[in-house]
Amino acid sequence: MEFWLIVTGLAAVSGLWMAWPYLRSRSVEMTGSDGAISIYRDQIDELERDRRAGQISDSECEAARVEIERRALVAARRLDSGFVSSQRSLLSAAGLVIVAGAAAVALYSSTGTPQQQDMPLAARKTEELIRRADAGDINSRIQLLIQQTQEEPESFEAWWVLARSYAAIGDHASSADAYRHAAELAGDRPAVLSAYAEAMTLANGNKVPSAARVIFEQLAIENADPRARYYAALAKAQAQDFQGAIEDWALLARDSNPQAPWMPLVERDIINMARFLKVDVTAYLPNASAEQIAAASNTPETDENTPTLAALEASLEADPKDYKGWIALAEARSAAGDAEGATAALDEGRAHFAAAPFVLDQFAQTERALGLDLVESGLRGPSDEDIAAAAELSQTERDDMIAGMVAGLAARLEAEPNDPDGWVMLVRSYATLGEMDKAQDAYRQASATFKDDAQVLQAIRSQTSGLVTGN
């Protein structure tokens, strides 16, 4: 309503402005002008100047003067041709205002979309993010939380929730950063500090950095915080004090409720460490089950596993782009007591997926689960250097790396399909690599994933047009 009032007002003002000449009082206008004559005056002046300056002779000047005079005469005789008069004409004015105004409004009504509001991005972003966050999209939730920390940088709550959300998606570096803010705001609250130190450790590839170690040890002593105790022991292990580590874990296991959420982790580490140190696990884990005891001892595995192992190796030889295969191989080798072999399998897998962060993350998790990171393993951090090195790779190596990256992208999308850009990139990448079947397949999966969102579907379709059939 307000909109139409403004439109009508503007139409009326425009019409009135145009019709203004009809509303003025009577006047007379010349249709001709002596503009031409004033030019001839100028020309005569210029002639005179040139003559005085000696640039033209008197006779030249006289000839030119005659011609200018002749033209001026013609112009002057034509000048008197006429006048037009204007009169106030309310009828014309009203006609013009009404016709022009109505025409403009009618034209707009047929081409415009008057009901649609402005939708500047700043206003929409939040609204869209809330919609998605409510639908369970953690990335949107994080965006909202970031906004919240920007609006209220002094709010401990905001930083705390943000840090936990980052941790949930495995972005431990950002998580540590957010925990640091939270810790600063919270004073020395032990839970916050230990969460902070844990995030630092995870961000560091599960190696306890010295700053975190200080915090953990402090907390372990002062507050008996189980998490701090666990990590303080881990730090010991990583500093080659294996005996100290296993003892601390054993103490932690003894002090904890067997149902405590951290118990599986602690038990796992004790078992792994016991196996590594070739000691009796029951000394540290009195209630160990038979299965656990078996896992902690270096009993050779049953024969059944051997063909599996060989088959895995062969299939990976043929298709190194199977990251689950590498994980399976590492698990199988580790189970067979070959920790070095397991590490080697993961390392080899990493070489193929150097630029696929998602897969690298999976490898790191496997490594941790198998306890391979406890032994001196030269754990490789996420590979910034690899990317930098990529610039200097040979063509084959580069191709290999790209193929690995694409496979990594596919793996990530399998786990986190809610990423339209990722799908488009995947389809394009396959198409570029010439793997049209896979491109087609990826496109189908993307379409299935977003079948309820016409907008996204349209975007995917248009951005992959010409690459795959069916769009």
């Binding site: 001026a72 002057a76 630029a355 790396m401 790209i402 990256m405 992208l409 990448s429 570029t432």
Partner: protein, 152 residues
Amino acid sequence: MRSFLLALALSLLTLPVSALDPGEMFTDPALETRARELGRQLRCLKCRNQSIFDSNAGIAKDLRVAVRERITAGDSDDEILIYVRERFGDYVLMKPPVEPHTYLLWFTPVLLLLIGGGATMVYLHGRTGHRSEELSDEDRAEARRVLKEEVT
């Protein structure tokens, strides 16, 4: 960070090879000059009005390499142009050949100058004899009054 890495690495897929890469160049400067001169006369088929010498599209590179191979094989410039034209048609030549369907194109400049010159001649010829008539004294006086007249 993850998306940055992906973007960076995927960019390797799409980055064009730079126009004229050193790997394809001759060491002999005379041959190199010839190759470039030829490159300027051939059009990159995918591009808009770019010669293969200027273009960095893959197809332009292929053609450049082909031209260089012909040079190595000892073909003359004309032979190479004929060779390329046979394969890709007139479209590949930056300078269209003079043929019946391009007569109009090639003779336009001459034609324009001739028409312009001719028209000027006719115009100037028609003007001769058109002299300015003298003004009578009366008229001159009036003209001067008109010219002197400032504001009424």
